[in-house]
Symmetry: C2
Subunit: 223 residues, 2 copies
């Protein structure tokens, strides 16, 4: 291994996170606007370069903090993008992740050293992203839909004290289709990814049971 061999030096690693949320029934993704070339003023998924001394997971955490101010969320690796020309300046491999968070609970920075804006967009209305992020986003949506019930990937959207009807509506928003309310309940309760967490008494409504996701790792997905 010759570390100066031009065949395989000057390679970089991009970290990309498709950060999803459900905002008043709308399935959305967080995009940031680039301040510099390449793709100046283009919207892209949250991410940046992985440093030499960090794992892709730690690099992803750092990038999320730097570019959006968001901390403390889990994510799930779902793909690798390696077209040599996907980034114009040098060869950048991309490692792609998914998160689902509550947009009400985070304060997203709109100005950082490298970004000039940040905004939640409805998935259907997103196109023309910088780099190959249109493709990455499409794959992320597909992956999320396939795995929404096989893990606690929604844990960051509903950390605790959520009702089943709430989780039901969010799941419908993400999948983009109706799910029978009573079967949804049965399914969630038969798998052991959530557990009871108290009772909610709200004015104007019948009191509802509260749940929380169990403390398993997010990562026991298919990948």
């Amino acid at each position: 291994m010759d570390i100066n061999n031009p065949l395989y030096s000057k390679q970089g690693i991009h970290l990309v996170n498709a950060l999803f949320t459900v905002d008043r029934g709308k399935f959305k993704v967080l995009l940031i606007k680039r301040k510099n070339q390449p793709y100046k003023d283009k919207w892209i998924l949250v991410g940046g370069a992985c440093y030499n001394n960090e794992t892709v997971e730690n690099g992803m955490k750092r990038e999320m903090q730097e570019k959006t101010g968001i901390t403390g969320v889990d994510f799930q690796l779902f793909g690798v993008y390696s077209n040599p020309n996907r980034s114009p300046l040098m060869r950048m491999l991309a490692v792609a992740f998914i998160s689902v968070i509550d947009c009400e609970k985070v304060k997203v920075l709109t100005q950082t050293q490298k970004t000039s804006d940040a905004e939640w967009f409805e998935i259907d209305k997103v196109k023309g992203l910088g780099y190959d992020h249109d493709e990455i986003l499409a794959d992320a949506v597909k992956y999320l839909k396939n795995n929404i019930f096989s893990s606690n990937i929604l844990k960051n959207l509903f950390p605790h004290n959520f009702t089943l009807p709430l989780l039901h509506k969010a799941s419908e928003s993400i999948l983009g289709k109706k799910i029978d309310r009573r079967n949804f309940r049965k399914k969630l309760l038969s798998t052991h990814i959530i557990e009871e967490d108290g009772i909610l008494t709200q004015k104007g409504k019948k009191s509802a049971k509260l749940y929380k996701f169990c403390e398993n790792d997010v990562e026991n997905l298919k990948f």
Copy 2:
């Protein structure tokens, strides 16, 4: 993006393929012995560095050819390994793949520019591999077992003209457990990953139907 920034230059990409086979009922993996430092004389999974101008898929094909002489097999991406110290000389990210092939149908090179030996090993007896390949192999085995029926990942093991009992026995070898013969048949025929491909008349046996995998891509797996 400053291509000379030491924070994220001098990074390399390793490509690793866990090449599996079933050899007379034994589930095996192909290992190669390194000729040079680091990990001189250690057994490792097949692989090497990805060049700047190739996708990870094309790089993986090239590395398989160079290190083993094997060509024309499909593989499936299943993981990324990014511990900064997983390779001693410089930061090497690893992108990991799986293939399942027929060891009878390939001629494996035992001497190449960078390898001094190559051999099929029974999975259970493998340990002490170079780099982090023990971990990668364990993950690959787990991934393969989880996905053996949800794709045509075994297409390279049985390209065509195989009988169901043959596929059944290979599947049992890989999973390491018995599967009911009649339910296996029913399951495979109900999914549409194989189709009829003639009749086999063998001396000494009842004639058997032949099958082949359908022409879908290997890549419609969970990942």
